[in-house]
Subunit: 576 residues, 2 copies
Amino acid sequence: MRTSNFLLSTLKETPADAEIISHQLMLRAGMIRKVAAGIYNWLPAGLRVLRKVEKIVREEMDLAGAQEVLMPAVQPAELWQQSGRWEQYGGELLRMSDRHGREFCFGPTHEEVITSLISNEIRSYKQLPATFYQVQTKFRDERRPRFGVMRSREFIMKDAYSFHLDQASLEDTYSKMYQTYTRIFTRLGLHFRAVEADTGSIGGSASHEFHVLADSGEDAIAVCDKFDYAANVELAEALAVGGERPAATQTLEKVDTPGQTTIDAVSEYLKTPVEKTVKTLLVHAAEEGKLVALVLRGDHELNELKAEKHPLVATPLVWASDEEIQQAVGCSPGSIGVVDMTIAVIADRSAANVADFVCGANQDGVHYTGVNWERDCAEPEVYDLRTVVAGDVCARADDTNQDSQLSITRGIEVGHIFQLGTKYSEAMNASCLDNNGKAAIMPMGCYGIGVSRIVASAIEQNHDDRGIIWPEAIAPFQLVITPIGYNKSEQVKSVCDDLYQTLTGLGIEVLLDDRNERPGIMFADADLLGIPHRIVIGEKSLANDKIEYKNRRAEGPEEVPQNGIVEFLTERVLKR
Amino acid sequence: MRTSNFLLSTLKETPADAEIISHQLMLRAGMIRKVAAGIYNWLPAGLRVLRKVEKIVREEMDLAGAQEVLMPAVQPAELWQQSGRWEQYGGELLRMSDRHGREFCFGPTHEEVITSLISNEIRSYKQLPATFYQVQTKFRDERRPRFGVMRSREFIMKDAYSFHLDQASLEDTYSKMYQTYTRIFTRLGLHFRAVEADTGSIGGSASHEFHVLADSGEDAIAVCDKFDYAANVELAEALAVGGERPAATQTLEKVDTPGQTTIDAVSEYLKTPVEKTVKTLLVHAAEEGKLVALVLRGDHELNELKAEKHPLVATPLVWASDEEIQQAVGCSPGSIGVVDMTIAVIADRSAANVADFVCGANQDGVHYTGVNWERDCAEPEVYDLRTVVAGDVCARADDTNQDSQLSITRGIEVGHIFQLGTKYSEAMNASCLDNNGKAAIMPMGCYGIGVSRIVASAIEQNHDDRGIIWPEAIAPFQLVITPIGYNKSEQVKSVCDDLYQTLTGLGIEVLLDDRNERPGIMFADADLLGIPHRIVIGEKSLANDKIEYKNRRAEGPEEVPQNGIVEFLTERVLKR
């Protein structure tokens, strides 16, 4: 491609409304333009990247035996009513009525359509397992679309759905998709982690998210490199800190703590380390009208998702009001404690491991010190209630590996694989005949990749102060030829044109910058656009039979003999 | 691909609600499935064809220097309000409101979005001309969607838009696009015609439609092979029939024609050939409250589009009511004539060429015979008013070529190229600086191809009673291997598997039918699906070192020596 026939709409200034670096760089490099909130045009430079992502995704899905289909963007309400999601989905579902007043939505996902389709097309277990995928435009009417195509309303997704005779087959395909996703993100050249997203009731790992790691990621991920374990920080299992609970050494004492209502304040007032305090939080019980006490070590945070999984706790979690607390234990929230507690107590693993601790005395302005479980209050029910923090021991660790610590990193979710089970196939009666001739509801899996979001997340992970640094596999062009004086020197023009021809013929995607611009502008545009390889051709270096080569990731350029440049580039660009 | 991993959902019965053959065959061959009226799923077999069409379209657009972009499906109302089409577009525009109550539509076309985009990105004439295209899902809320993907509501279109400094540049790109479209439809293997769609006020041929010729086509096209002329029948120029007007030979006579109010009845009653009668039709004049008389030969049909182009005639055309006719000429509609006509008369070229004709006498139940222009009534204004019929002389003919006759054929519109002029660029103020530094509104062209419709129209043109006969370039598979006893004979299985591997490796798209089905069913499915080449592999023919080959278009099969089959197929499939 020549820039004279390419819409290279670079911007010098960073647009004011772009908050994150990928959004800024995609606008500055002329990859996207906003049409409305969360709705974008893809310009030629951006679309080239998007198509490369799509291509890699398609190739790997095909290789995994998934069959490509194309389902409509506009979906009838009836299907969503069958699954129950017409009511449940809420404001993100963009609804519309056609000229006859029939209701439709712009599909944010396609479980309903594929399940309805396959329930008619697949009749026998002999046709199973079968996986179908599409690359399709979706719409989610985000309340606050932002960050460019990272969280846009209209976006492109690869979604896939698998159908099975039984759970074993689903798990088999799930594992194949896990490998396929791993290959896809590896080929894309991204630094990523598969993250355990849920260990649901089905058993096993029923859901993994694939995250591109980047400091700007919205999700915190707990990672242990020793055990190749990664989980959303909200879901990562938190072990008890330290070993067994020590024996009691102090006696129980009641002390005045006037006006001290926070853990930090009490800890400082009593000169007790915060790890030797516990906090008691009252929440609504699943049983109407009752409360439950959740106990954590003073320095730990309650993980509401984990608490909600406990059968005694109401879902979603509801905090007890000050009045309810007063009525139940006779004090304000800052002075609750476990001694003489009359309501059910659930203690986090680490809180249950502390001896000689400080806690409230269920009396305003008074705390206990030297509290010990069993001796001073009932041994509590122990449960994983807290969110992991950096330095926690990995849940995969055994006794011989207590040095495997979690670190917390940030990620952008770009893929999600999920064992759906029979949620949709039951609602839409998608069954097939098993080998006994009996109708069996088909368990399903679903597998999504945010194709347009990958483009933005690749930039979040690969950029510097000059612009984007594309992974080679998805760069809009592989090589840029920057001539010095293309329109002034016959020699420069002729060398550039010849090389352009030769390299293009070899299958290298070349951008020849044949604009009549100053070299500084051309260099800046090439760097901004993130083209991995660059050669500079000018009369001065040609006089020495040299051509300047620079890798986008390298510090400086290197000189290559003119007669060896094709071989050199073939090696660098094609045979990496 | 093996059928064991391919959703080959063929149907034996023709679905009741499919009216045209392509719709029937696409359902029967398992290419599409209906989701809602005018909204379809594309199954794997259909999508393979669709993607091949897309690929050819993209390759040729790229070759023509057009740049691919991707504009959103969901478009903000503001843009359509700027162009004025938010009000004008009517019921076909699928409108919706987002969660904040802002109005959007599902784009049926993208003139507004591209014009708004380019008005911001292109600043200088140096960036012109520039053509942008996309392949995108569109929605038109047809009042009566039908014929499957031939006239669906959600469909896939390639739309392109070009921007220019002046009309000359627009005409240049238009001509390039004409050639590109010709190459596209040629590569697709379709029998097609470029049809003059309008010779508008801009001058020259400002619009061409590309039609796939098929008996089931909705549009009638007048075609002259001698002059490579084709025009929509509504728009084709109609010359005067015969040569100069003969001299008068009869005298004017008034005759009673009691109860004869139609041309046919009068013609028969008076024993006069219908070609020697003229009919006079009264319509509203452009000037309020006046009427105009349109005169055609008895056997010719008024073309309303042509009449509307005459400055004296009201647009849109309004027929005079019986009362208005009575008031103006004193008779019923069946007895109007040109003798003593007091209102403006416009005669079709052929009507103006008749001598000694019959017409009404502006008196119920009375006609004139032997009427001659000039002698019995004023020489009329002559205008092209009628729709051409088969056998008419081609408008491109000159005096030496009066044998070049029009034939009427039917076509399916699959492409449309159009010189838009400045309609959108003016409304949206899309200008660039010309070489004098002055802002100039950019003339635009637009160029559409109905990608999904092409699939259906290819079938309308290529089928027999057994099913589809794909043009080679867009067949879902190039070759099917039909084993006889794949699951019973080790030899058959091994030969099939080896050939499948070898041929796939050579780049041939092979479907290996490894189902455990009767040969009759496999043959029927392969024919229905329209795969161009088939080989049959069974123990019997292998015993004679033979493999049976059949072309989908051929009458019967031929035998090929087993050791020559790869070479044979390479020749037939790849080197056509």
